[in-house]
Symmetry: D2
Subunit: 99 residues, 4 copies
């Protein structure tokens, strides 16, 4: 949890259903990976599927980040409080780039 | 599926249980993400968890790759057939690096 | 070039000297890589140095992005024009994450 | 330096010139970045160029890794010494994936 975790709806709330659908799809990919391993699928094909799941997760992250900038950071800017939010968002971007 | 997908046990077979356990853990992380979104968790905390799941998936991939080099590629080398296997493994590494 | 490239000083202008110093350091790392190759340095050591240079470049990018959010995007928000800027910044983040 | 750094020509030696040319190109990209910053180029365009330089560096790394697998690791395998080399290569891959 980040230090002062705001409560209530957040940047992604308007697109919660789409976000949930994407995460369900990633879950399906990870379960597919288990099936592949269970059925002794060739290593390289398992690796290809891991790359696909990783990409899907990162696309979810980039989408979330856009919602966050569009709503939370803009709201903070309107409240004269953008500085801390930008620092926090940048740290999240740094984690994503390195992930 | 890669072109000439070998059948039977592969490089990771000896560590299948450990691999399955790691993939179960990633599945748990992705389900945790769904719960976080469902409960309107703060965007940045969701992003942190996505970075963690991505890292976990990539660690699985690196482990698989090591097993693949150690078993499949070495076997191919013994059969005088390393060249194609190395090209294939390199392509998988390139996908991982970019993922 | 992006479509409507704004002219004049940008988000990073205040920290131009620090940014230049960091890019000079990356240039030094890339020249060091050439020296290593020229002197037949062991592959793995060259790879370690490439990872370091890549990380340094990505750190420059994350810093630039923070400056961009703090200045250009905030200015656009004040002008009631944040939407396009956020879309543009998100696309840059997506390129970084995939890079 | 890695622990037991082998001396003499390595996996990439046969393609030293091509490798040098690629590193020169990356150096040119990094100098281009300095010029862009010096001329107050728009942040997003600088970021696009950083992503390109990062990709170019990673492509060099993947190429080096392929040469390393093809020559050094195969030689080690012929000498009955593949194990340590594969562990070392995997660690380098892990650094690249995270870089």
């Amino acid at each position: 949890m980040s230090e002062a975790t705001p409560t209530g709806p957040h940047g992604y709330s308007a697109e919660k259903q789409a976000l949930m659908a994407r995460l369900k799809r990633v879950e399906g990919q990870v379960r597919g990976l288990q099936r592949m391993v269970d059925e002794d699928t060739y290593c390289i094909d398992v690796l290809t599927q891991i790359s696909a799941a990783t990409k899907a997760l990162q696309a979810v992250a980039v989408g979330l980040l856009e919602d966050h900038l569009r709503h939370c950071v803009m709201q903070a800017a309107a409240d004269g409080n953008a500085d801390a939010k930008i620092k926090e968002a940048t740290a999240a971007i740094a984690r994503l780039v390195k992930a």
